[in-house]
Symmetry: D2
Subunit: 409 residues, 4 copies
């Protein structure tokens, strides 16, 4: 379709088939690029949609379209460290749009393979994804970033209308925007924003996507066993399977009970408040089970400090710094902490919430009886000594520098 | 009953009517004390039990029995800072046995009122409560601590059997221990431990106390509005009421939907793992609502740092340091942070989990339109500049000190 | 000089008399502003320079020139919380250019007094001061920011040459740039950058400003007593005096011994590395003394946690967030922590470094003898119990999950 | 001397030749032990003293005496991670008595080699070393700890007098205690405590040990180059040498200029305040140089977070948790952070303080010119965008929830 010539510059475009990235193809061609579209399948589409995306790319004039599966990298580079870390952004949000990093990383690998240093994305200049895209590119090498939507925002305000008109003029169909919410789906989960969600009001029923609504939760509670090896989930109900398959099944099984749905307002990288509804049954199950295992196995010192490390990991990933050196350092810590985090956790849900009802592991920190009698038992006198010395500093302060007591207010 | 004489030493005993504190009364009398029993009602008993406790104290030979309500101090000194802080011990546990601090504080006030410096408690030398009791006493003044159960543990191993026999010899009835679990109830919630919980296995149905079991959750979802003023809950569904009443009603209403139940393994002060089931519908509702309000109102800097402060508060309170000077400093921070945390949050539950579906407040950080146009709007070029400079250090590092990419592994 | 009319817009310009702010005056006049110049004296100039600045402003056509002393606000709002906090940026740098915040705050107060919402500053678009200026303005109200130097950088590259030429064309003298280094002096200290400092090489002798060079350090050691009340220095060698006077005298006396000089490379807000030489004898003396006092008076819990709070304060102040709400919250903590931080510290220096050789205070946490015998003494058996329980979690881990020993590598 | 029999229990005693450990030998023999004395030379003694210690052990009846050098393990396991971490206990103290961990570790290796599970040490029940000794033993295996001095403290108060008398009765000479201070020397440095130091008064001249007094500092400044590879010092002034030799030479050369001396009051593990004078010229030089290198090489994110990790490392090591699993995790982070920390730092001192005057490394984060133009340069407009978005949250807060300004107080 496209009249590629040897002299044309190549560009790899991260392509989803939506309005923004569809616009990018002819826009880039017009500027003399041979456009290679890459769709990284991160778990949000079915076969029909995947075929549509490929056809759409060709229709729009891409010289080449590539489809890659992002499932395994998402598991390895996002899910595993997230679950091991055990922390959420602002204590609530599990970084559900982190598939962006995988998409960019795959796109730059394609740039390298096709011999170009030009990468294009369809992010706007108003959102947080542009931070993730741009910074990932800069962290992975010296590539040119072309961002057509951001470029046209320099001149145009009603950008989406402009894009639609532009495409239609060129004879391309534009799917009408019908959805009330801006919804994003991938293997990690679903996010929904827009409309009354932005107004801090209660979201409508269309925001239930991976999670079944309460009226359809099964009557019988569900139990599921997750087995971890050094912090990584490896089996579901005793059956070994690849990580992405574990996550997919948990999304289905726990999603049927409405597990992992929440609403929160985040401080976005760009500085504004962003309120979203999100659903992530599988991630919630994995994190709940992993936490229960760690609580039983890690030392008090480890349980006390590790959250600080994991919180920083979450913050870096949220803010676009997926390939920042500090993240490597944090992951070295996290990996080390998992040496003994192996065992099986039984989760149970009757709807809404999932609870880790049982934990089996040979690594649980408990006194296995007389063998350790000398070092792990104590008597009342030792306890008294412990309490006295543990509180020495506070006690001395109470004597030397007494404060008013609440009863004396 | 007791033959008090002017020369007898007085002791104030924190008294619950259970085996341990019942034992303490004659034990202390035998050692020459006039025993004043204090029952601080922290919300775990009904009128009948309260009357039983009073009668029990007299039967055992207390020279005086005092009953006090601990509800308001629990609200003021535990619930309010806990909810404002928004953090949980090990990210999970809301400090449900913190009523101990109120009990000791009230007991020492009674010591002062009755002119004695001797305080007695029924803690054993094996648990964590003794840390809370002893340290609180030492932080509040120079009192003598008498701990009869710990004392007899110096000689006896089967302490509870010894206590029962001792009481029966003196003609006092001993309630048979029938409960499978060790259960603790107060206004804050319920904890259960023992039996298969200690074995990291699934807990039995008797551990459902404040929370209704799934089969009896109402069919209709529940919505409830909580109004906060400077971080403190003041109204429920528009009706102003005292804090303890808000908590009681939330315990009932959310408990009917099974909200706030969890199982976790904690690193206890004494150094062992302690696994418990706990239920706290009201605290869960308050914390969920307060968090949703703060997410919308505090700055990104505040939301980013405040958790560290609140986590330290939680750790101090868990470990017995309720009257440590650092806690005052932390609370000064927390109070300051609440200046604008006023507004109404609508919670919704259909069972198991509670979600903050709506937030109303004039303090939400959002651009109220053209008025703030200059400072709070930006264009695509500014966003590009932001991203470039925000990532400058990471980008320079990628240029100067490139690391292997995941794709190159 | 300037022909002001009622219709002219007024602007308050933060004015130092240097090239950049001199350029701003006619530049702003050309754009129809009546320029009110404000020089906030933060301690870096003598009387002659102050008079020159005033004359310069009038020569350049300012409709009004105002000189204000910034000494007391610098003490109250920068020095006091910095010393109380006890932390440095990147553990090294004491925020010596924080006088910027005072300058802006005073300038906006002058805007209010003169009835204008327009504020101008002479920062370039390359440095970090622009962040401090702009953000302070935005945090203090809805003012317009005019930044002429940044504006001309949109068109011109050799900005300083352009400014000089522009001024000379208008008949204004331009001081030749002779200094090898970019040097900044105020009450807080001196910073020097540029030339071989930027090249990570050893700085030349002109970088010794407040600090005497080693060859001229006095032979006799110096001792000086600083008295603090609730964390604030109030007396020097027993003599009460205003804070700024304490700082001035310490700069002189400790500067004669070369105290408080260092070189460091900072991660600047703008994302680049910035290497500077700095000298701050007085701040160093105050912080050393205050730390010694706190070490003796605060509890172990306070000493352990307070640095985290103070580090965040330092980071906010470094990065431009002097009026961010979180800073208020942090200061509430810091203030609370100083309740008992009163006493006298004797500093000693023989050159290069200052040491807190003695501390006197009634608040030092030490056992005052038999009075506290019960609560603050312990015996060997209690110590053994303490050690056993303190290490319980680690010990259990060593039993259950043994790791290889270094000797077994 | 000792009549060892096959049936006798063996014990390995950490032996220094001082009063306490001398007492232990006959005390243990009396209780039926064959005593194997181990002297781990951690750098505090000369050849004569080493020979004395060996002879002393034999005189006291040890069945075997072993001398081991602790220099290399101290470098590898204490100095390297301490310098890489870059943090000090309470921001001041570089853990100078951490040789204890090496001593215990070597002693337990000797236990294993000699086939015994019994280890003895001469710590008292009043100090902090007992925590380090006991916890290290428990973390390294299931050994019996015999602590004769602590044991006799159960009965005796004037313990040192009792020990002296006991030894003299057995015909052993006891060195008279003449030292005013309790002084501890090893490769890491010197600590002094006791007498007026405990009273928070100025220490006497005998506390100057490794550091020359100011009157004898050389007139000429000293420059020394330290080269690091991945964070570890490997060369001094261009000459490769083993780590312990680098440290020894730096102790000498910087000690001649009085570098690395300080006084501080620490919150000890046991809960009391402990005031000491310490001197560590070499550690101070290494840490100063390493910090200067890291400031230039690590990213802003790394420099911002790494101190938290290193502070926890320091706290664990101070408090006795040298073999706690968390320490392994922290060291995995620290190691990872050093990937590019290679280069040469020039230190300079003229007395009292040492300054990193120059840094050479190919890893310094600076823009190497046009090559990186696209990603690391910016213009004024981009800077404005950066500032606006960086401050967005603060600015919105200032608009929506204005606070009183200081000028409006």
């Amino acid at each position: 379709m496209s009249q590629s010539t040897a002299s044309n510059k190549k560009v790899v475009l991260a392509f989803s088939g939506g309005l923004d990235t569809s616009f990018c193809v002819p826009y880039l061609r017009e500027r003399g690029y041979d456009v290679i579209t890459l769709f990284v399948d991160t778990g949000g589409v079915d076969d029909a949609e995947r075929a549509y995306i490929e056809q759409r790319a060709r229709d729009l004039g891409a010289v080449e379209h590539v489809t890659e599966s992002g499932a395994q990298p998402i598991w390895d580079d996002v899910v595993v460290p997230l679950v091991i870390g055990g922390q959420l952004y602002q204590d609530v949000y599990p970084l559900l749009v982190s598939d962006r990093y995988i998409i960019v990383e795959r796109a730059l690998a394609l740039c390298d393979a096709r011999g170009t240093r030009v990468f294009a994305h369809g992010c706007t200049g108003m959102g947080n994804d542009q931070v993730r895209f741009d910074q990932t590119v800069r962290s992975l090498g010296d590539y040119d970033i072309v961002a057509p939507i951001r470029d046209i925002q320099h001149q145009h305000h009603a950008v989406r209308a402009y894009e639609a008109e532009y495409l239609q003029k060129l004879g391309h169909h534009v799917r009408p925007k019908t959805a009330k919410y801006s919804i994003n789906v991938n293997l990690l989960g679903v996010t929904a924003s827009g409309s009354e969600i932005d107004e801090f009001q209660a979201p409508g029923p269309e925001t239930w996507q991976m999670c079944a609504r309460p009226e359809s939760w099964p009557k019988q509670p569900l139990r599921v066993d997750i087995e971890f090896e050094r912090g990584v989930a490896v089996k579901l109900d005793g059956e070994a399977m690849p990580g992405p398959e574990i996550l997919r099944r948990l999304n289905e099984r726990l999603g049927a009970y409405g597990v992992g749905r929440n609403i929160y307002t985040g401080d976005t990288t760009i500085g504004l408040k962003g309120r979203i509804v999100f659903e992530c049954p599988g991630i919630t199950g994995l994190m709940t089970a992993h936490r229960a295992l760690e609580e039983a196995i890690l030392t008090a010192h480890q349980n006390g400090f590790k959250p600080l490390v994991a919180k920083k990991w979450v913050e870096l990933v949220y803010r676009g710094f997926f390939f920042e050196p500090l993240k490597d350092d944090l992951e070295a810590f996290l990996r080390s902490s998992q040496t003994f985090v192996s065992g099986i956790v039984t989760l149970e849900t009757a709807g809404g919430v999932v609870t880790p009802v049982a934990v089996r592991s040979e690594h649980i920190l408990r006194n296995k009886g007389a063998v350790y009698a000398q070092s792990a038992d104590w008597d009342a006198r030792e306890a008294e000594g412990f309490i006295k010395l543990l509180g020495m500093s506070s006690t001395l302060s109470a004597r030397v520098n007494p404060r008013r007591r609440p009863g004396q207010r």
